[in-house]
Symmetry: C2
Subunit: 237 residues, 2 copies
DNA sequence: CAATATCTGTACGGTAACGTACTTATTGAA
DNA sequence: TTCAATAAGTACGTTACCGTACAGATATTG
């Protein structure tokens, strides 16, 4: 039963619309590394992450890619279709495997035109994602690796159930766009200050308040904007 | 007479809608440094730049701000309203003074609901701006000052009539988020290679092809996406 | 034409990253 | 239980920037 999802976008819907939309979704398990839809291709479906995290990647002509945004349970991959584009401008890749709801493109479009509330919430969600991307862009150019690591861990923790996150320094270095050794140094610093603790692929936040202070303000800006735009998002079914 | 605008969003409209929309706009001259609308305030109007350039700025709690996107004649400031938000998430500030069309919020919303084509084009434009912000964010973290300067100059040249741009290194340093001296160094490099020439606040592109090679691919990615999303945009009335 | 303001060139030491690469610690599978 | 794979710690020279500061060049104004 998909009713009871913890996806923030779907939770922001009133019961009736929520029911209509989730009734058309299917539960899927996304595997880390899977490419959901490639840049330039037609968009087949929209994903509402629950425990999975999906990232938007820009592809350069030499084949390299850069992560431009990542979306967890507070968002969805609907922006393209929502703005009227049938084809992808970027590649959607699963960063962290987990559960998600999948809604085929045609059903998505039908639901969008049948339910004004759905469209309204989707637009607000797009605004939230847009803001996140804006802030992240500014953040990358302004704040150092330690602050950004702190921010990234806080953001990720909001998307995950348990206290422990399974993330390697290597993975984080890709997310932050820095060297693996730079992540190790930043993580050491945070650990020495008692804000996190980690061993071999497992990271745990031990002092959330302190980590927020170590992070740049970008964490709060994005979070507050998301909460303002999608109320009820923490409602959980 | 506003018909005959060179704003790319408005030019992407068919004649009938174009006429309906521009008929509701007023010609304004925007002064560099002016704040059009502040973060948190209600959005009073939407601006379609012609020769002006407006930037979206995120404001931190210490009062400092970071430029997150800038919009010239290929775009508009409509994203907020278009996505259903009556209030600003960011501050819109005039970076380069010049002409623009101004459309009050109520009229904008009325036109949007009366003309499906207008809404469709606006959504495509939002997609384009969204993509620009995504790419720029990735670009800032990946490419060096010289590449980004080249890209910025190319982008700006597309928005301006003449061959000469009135820009100081100091101004450019703010745009790129680097030191003024770093801009001077990058600009010297470009000039020594015959790609640009400049004197005291005036910059001229002398070898466009070469400048494109010196720039990162981000210039082409954003430009191609914008062209694909808003055809006819160069039609000029 | 002189005075002033504005730009640009340059210099200095400092720092946070970089690429590369080797070592040491875990962990899961043979 | 040993081995191979994976993760984390560390090191070294290098680079692109930073903050600051001042001198020279070019406009603008009185």
């Amino acid at each position: 039963m998909v009713y009871g999802t913890n996806n923030g976008v779907l939770c922001a819907l009133g019961p009736k619309t929520h029911y209509a939309v989730t009734g058309q979704c299917e539960d899927v398990t996304l595997k880390a590394g899977a490419v959901l839809q490639r840049s330039g291709e037609a968009t087949h479906a929209v994903y509402f992450p629950e425990t999975a995290v999906v990232s938007a990647i820009a592809t350069y002509s030499d084949g390299s890619g850069i992560e431009m945004a990542n979306m967890g349970r507070e968002a969805s991959t609907a922006v393209n279709l929502l703005l009227g584009q049938s084809h992808q401008l970027h590649t959607d890749e699963v960063q962290i495997g987990g559960a998600a709801l999948r809604l085929p493109a045609e059903r998505f479009l039908k639901l969008k035109s049948d339910h004004a509330e759905f469209e309204r919430v989707l637009l607000a969600s797009a605004q939230s994602v847009f803001y996140q991307v804006m802030i992240s862009g500014a953040c990358n150019g302004t704040h150092d690796a330690r602050q950004r690591l702190a921010r990234w861990l806080l953001t990720m923790a909001d998307r995950i159930d348990g206290a422990e996150m399974r993330l390697t320094h290597d993975f984080l270095s890709e997310m932050l766009g820095v060297r693996r050794a730079t992540v190790t140094k930043a993580a050491q610093d945070l650990q020495e200050n008692g804000l996190i603790s980690y061993t071999r692929g497992r990271i745990r936040i031990t002092n959330r308040k302190g980590l927020r202070e170590a992070s740049c303000e970008c964490y709060d800006l994005v979070r507050n904007a998301n909460r303002a735009l999608l109320p009820n998002a923490g409602r959980n079914g």
